[in-house]
Amino acid sequence: MATPTYVALATTTLSGTDAEIVFSSIPATYRDLVLVANFSRDNVSVSHDYIKLNTSTADFTNVQLFGNGSAAYSATESVNRVSTYTVTTGRIYNVILTIMDYSATDKHKTILSRYNKDNAGVGVFAVRWAQTTAVNSVSFYVTSGNFEVGSTFSLYGIEA
């Protein structure tokens, strides 16, 4: 029997600037989480968005692929980044990422993050968090400056 899923769990719309969006007390009811972030930023000197799982910033590795309109790039890193781009004030960025098997305790957590800068780039990050702990909180944040007023962040749950 089919099971309705892709359930909206929480949404934050910024009425003031904020550097970190936290979704906490996430139930283990679902198998995957999807975070949809649509935002602008006020700092042009830092070009990444970051994630914390259960407040942890350790044990992350990533591989990334992105294009800026004239060339394609790739890299691997050992940091908790989920996107990279050149920040321009007043521009819209979006990141849609899936945390696979967030509630499982027999797997590292893999994130597939797909992101765009409105007219200047597209890319994907795959991230592995080398912990088997179930995820009960997710933070999406920047290390300098803020997300601006009107930015939206929504979290969804998908059963399996």
Partner: protein, 208 residues
């Protein structure tokens, strides 16, 4: 208890109901959704393949598109594995295109005619313990009998070595038959198995 006697009995707070159904919990309709979990397999023992079957007869009238969400790791004696997918047990008339990142290089590829491939979507058994590849693959108009079947996927494996990859890919099955079965198997050698803990979930997306 009749309400007329409730006050005389000393009860101060009571409600008077006009019929026997009043006061019961209101009926709450099931949550409506256009994205539904259809079937899932989470392996408790190693398997050479996973098959979802009777799809058209069970879901064809209600859903337009399908999505596979997969966490995969095989017993391949390497850090990598590949995910091969076939429809209706057919092994011909497939095409694939992909672009992926490996280290500091970007690779573009076309090929594979015997299956749909979720490129770089699974780990092998020499990768770090508990590390699984991840892949999300959409199958467009899966039950439409006027169209060849197309797929698109976002996949990755993080293996701790040079086999760490992330990919975009598209697939084509040159066949207008409705998809009635989907078989997912490791592609590295034809002899490897999916390991315990692998998860393959099938979702349906409705049309309006």
């Amino acid at each position: 208890m009749p309400t007329s006697s409730a006050l005389r009995s000393g009860v101060k707070n009571y409600a008077r109901y006009l019929n026997v159904l009043a006061g019961t919990e209101p009926y709450v309709a099931p949550t409506l959704s256009d994205f539904d979990l259809l079937q899932t397999e989470i392996l408790t023992s190693s398997q050479a393949s996973v098959t979802f079957s009777s799809l058209n007869s069970t879901y064809g009238a209600d859903y337009q598109h399908l999505q596979l969400r997969m966490s995969a790791r095989s017993d391949n004696a390497a850090t990598w594995e590949e995910i091969y997918i076939t429809f209706n047990s057919a092994s011909t008339n497939y095409k694939n295109h992909a672009i992926w990142a490996q280290g500091g290089s970007v690779v573009a590829y076309q090929g594979d005619t015997t299956h749909i491939r979720a490129f770089q979507g699974a780990n092998g058994n020499n990768s770090p313990t508990d590390a699984f590849g991840a892949s999300i693959l959409d199958i467009l108009d899966a039950f439409n009998t006027n169209k060849n079947k197309t797929t698109r996927a976002l996949s990755a494996r993080l293996t701790g070595d040079a086999e760490t990859r992330v990919s975009f890919s598209s697939g084509l099955w040159i066949n207008t038959n409705a998809i009635d079965s989907i078989t997912i198997k490791p592609g590295s050698s034809g002899t490897t198995d999916w390991l315990v803990g692998c998860r393959f979930s099938l979702y349906g997306l409705k049309a309006a």
